[in-house]
């Protein structure tokens, strides 16, 4: 897979009602890479993702998909190129896993083109990739949180898009399931050449998994680039208003952030911080 689609935004302003959340922001999503957006609560990272995914209409500025203004494109055409997993999708009562994942095929179907073998194949591939094939016949509301999240990701995968945008895909997951989901997304990038953009809360996992990290503060981009080049104690301080030590992650040799609070700090370190 060498066809890479370009997603970018220029002077993008997003908000709800009169409230501006993202302010004249420009961004280029590197194709074929894993981009992670981080930032404090209410810094506008989810809003930016919703804007990039054309779920939110900008009050100014433009989002471009392959050079075309995304909000001018037929929404179904966009859905064949760009998949989105929103923060809180609703599983219809009692729906089975296979049926839910099958709904990811919606943009590929039409009034005259109904369910075909390719749809079954896409669903099966998505279930297999997320290790949920055994759950195919189960009801989604009977699943554990981790299983359910993997099923939602499978739905987005069944859409078979080059670009995949996920809003906090690891929230509510245990640490093992968080790592599992991030490994899966990395597989997509490395093995299938997909472009993945995710909003994440956990800074250390973000640093470990991101090819490209975007740090946001007050609706603007504070820094972006490869984590090893961008993530410093000063950046963490400016984004989260918190002291931290940045050291080497012994597993991945990426930056690892160790927060420094008021308590449980060894005297030597505390003195150094002051």
């Amino acid at each position: 897979m060498t066809v890479n689609h370009q997603l970018s935004a220029a002077d993008l302003t997003l908000g709800y009602g009169d409230r501006t959340i993202v302010d004249k922001l420009s961004i280029d999503i590197p194709p074929g890479k894993f981009t992670v957006i981080v930032g404090a609560n209410a810094c506008g990272k989810s809003t930016l993702l919703r804007g990039l995914a054309r779920l939110l209409t900008p009050s100014a500025g433009t989002v471009y998909l392959d050079g075309r203004a995304i909000h001018q494109m037929p929404t179904r055409e966009v859905a064949t190129l760009l998949g989105v997993l929103p923060q809180t999708p609703v599983a219809p009562d009692g729906i089975t896993v296979a049926d839910l994942v099958g709904r990811g095929r919606y943009p590929h179907q039409g009034w005259f083109r109904h369910w075909v073998a390719a749809d079954d194949a896409a669903v099966a591939t998505a279930l297999q990739a997320t290790d949920t094939l055994d759950l195919a016949g189960r009801a989604v509301d009977e699943l554990s949180g981790g299983q359910r999240q993997r099923v939602w990701i499978a739905m987005a995968l069944a859409q078979e898009t080059e670009l995949l945008l996920l809003d906090e895909p690891t929230t509510f997951l245990d640490i093992n399931h968080q790592v599992e989901v991030l490994d899966l997304l990395t597989d997509l990038v490395q093995q299938r050449g997909r472009t993945v953009v995710a909003v994440l809360h956990d800074l250390n996992l973000a640093c470990r998994y991101a090819d490209h990290i975007v740090a946001m503060r007050d609706g603007k981009i504070a820094a972006s680039g490869p984590p090893a080049e961008v993530v410093t104690a000063a950046l963490v301080k400016s984004i989260f208003g918190m002291d931290a030590e940045v050291c080497d992650d012994p597993v991945s040799h990426t930056p690892m952030i160790v927060p420094v609070g008021r308590h449980r700090v060894k005297p030597r370190l505390k003195a150094a911080a002051e």
């Binding site: 009602g17 919703r50 995914a53 054309r54 779920l55 929404t75 179904r76 055409e77 966009v78 859905a79 064949t80 998949g83 989105v84 997993l85 929103p86 923060q87 809180t88 999708p89 609703v90 599983a91 219809p92 009562d93 009692g94 729906i95 089975t96 296979a98 049926d99 099958g102 709904r103 990811g104 919606y106 943009p107 179907q109 009034w111 369910w115 073998a117 079954d120 194949a121 669903v123 099966a124 591939t125 279930l127 297999q128 094939l133 055994d134 195919a136 016949g137 189960r138 009801a139 987005a156 859409q159």
Partner: protein, 353 residues
């Protein structure tokens, strides 16, 4: 499903889909057969009992020319229109109800609870008591009342878009308001007019003719295909606005279209037979329970609506002593019990509201 997972991956997916399709087929077939059975009973039992063979002969007489004036009058002139009225209005109510409930993601959000049919009733009572109208005039007023109420609810609920929750709350308020209008009109009316208005308000298949069914039949011919086309986006709208939009659904357009179709279905059904209570409310959930977890519930809900209406009418006519009651009395009782069950079940599983 443990057997399926030893198949190739695609096999497991296909197996699940086939299983759901088989169940869908069985449910539709079963409902159709039951509807046929109830219709047959309704056409053969009565003050003038007719063996089924005679019913069939009469039904075919326009084609065979094998006429029997008395039987043909009973079957073609009285009982067939009544059965058709039950089937068509029940189907319209059922379809309208399930579309509302699915779009608003709330089993309480059926047109008879969020005030659409109550709005139709207020307009109809206004026509009967103040304008002294009857027949077609009342039907037109009922239809207009339903549409006007829907517009009011949508307008009042609008605040940078419409959330399902606000629609339901404002709808329940509108139902109370329309109910108050009906009560007020009653205080201004003579007892004869109240009686006429009341029998309309209960919802009844009495005196159904092919003539007064024509508007409903034409409306169904237009609206059912529209509902079928729009039902594709209903499947994505169910998962929330963001998920639907992400999958390429034109959310506002589809939702408005679906609500419009559902309002018109309820309006025409109410205009034809009166606000037969709770059919719209119970048809969808019953169909969903029969169908199990997945599958398109629209056709089964329409079939359940028709079946429930005709079965309730049969009970009201033949099984409650010597008094023949309007069908709405029976569906009302049934619906009330179902409402309590639904609230209790929702409370137990923590999904109330």
């Amino acid at each position: 499903m443990s057997a399926a997972s030893s198949f190739a991956p695609v096999g497991a997916v296909v197996a699940v889909r086939r299983r759901l399709q088989r169940r869908y087929g069985l449910v539709v077939l079963g409902l159709a057969l039951l509807s046929l059975a109830v219709a047959s009973l309704s056409m053969s039992i009565g003050d003038y009992p007719l063996p089924l063979a005679d019913v069939v002969r009469s039904l075919l007489s326009p084609f065979t020319g094998n006429a029997d004036a008395a039987n043909d009058f009973i079957v073609l002139g009285v009982r067939l229109p009544r059965v058709m009225a039950g089937l068509l209005s029940g189907a319209a109510f059922g379809l309208s109800g399930i579309v509302f409930q699915t779009i608003l993601r709330n089993p309480l959000a059926s047109p008879d609870i969020v005030g659409i049919t109550t709005g139709a009733s207020a307009a109809a009572v206004l026509a009967i008591i103040i304008f002294k109208w009857s027949g077609l005039g009342v039907s037109v007023m009922a239809c207009g009342g339903a549409v006007l109420t829907a517009l009011l609810i949508y307008g009042l609920a609008w605040r940078n878009g419409v959330t399902p929750y606000r629609l339901v709350l404002i709808g329940i308020g509108m139902a109370a308001l329309a109910g108050a209008v009906v009560s007020y009109l009653f205080t201004r009316a003579r007892i004869m007019e109240v009686q006429e208005a009341l029998s309309w308000l209960t919802g009844s298949l009495n005196g159904s003719t092919f003539e007064n069914l024509t508007p409903l039949a034409v409306a169904l011919l237009v609206l059912v295909p529209l509902a079928a086309v729009l039902s594709r986006s209903l499947r994505t709208l169910q998962m929330g606005d963001d998920a639907a939009r992400a999958l390429g659904t034109r959310v506002e357009f589809s939702r408005l279209g679906l609500i419009l179709v559902a309002v018109l279905l309820a309006a025409f059904a109410t205009a034809a037979v009166g606000p037969v209570s709770f059919v719209a409310f119970i048809a969808g959930p019953i169909a969903r329970r029969l169908l199990g977890p997945s599958g398109n519930v629209l056709l089964p809900a329409a079939l359940v609506g028709g079946l429930v209406t005709n079965a309730a009418d049969f009970v009201a006519q033949h099984m409650l002593g010597r008094n023949q009651l309007p069908v709405g009395v029976v569906t009302g009782a049934l619906g009330a019990v179902f409402l309590i069950y639904l609230l209790a079940a929702a409370h137990r599983s923590g999904r109330g509201g």
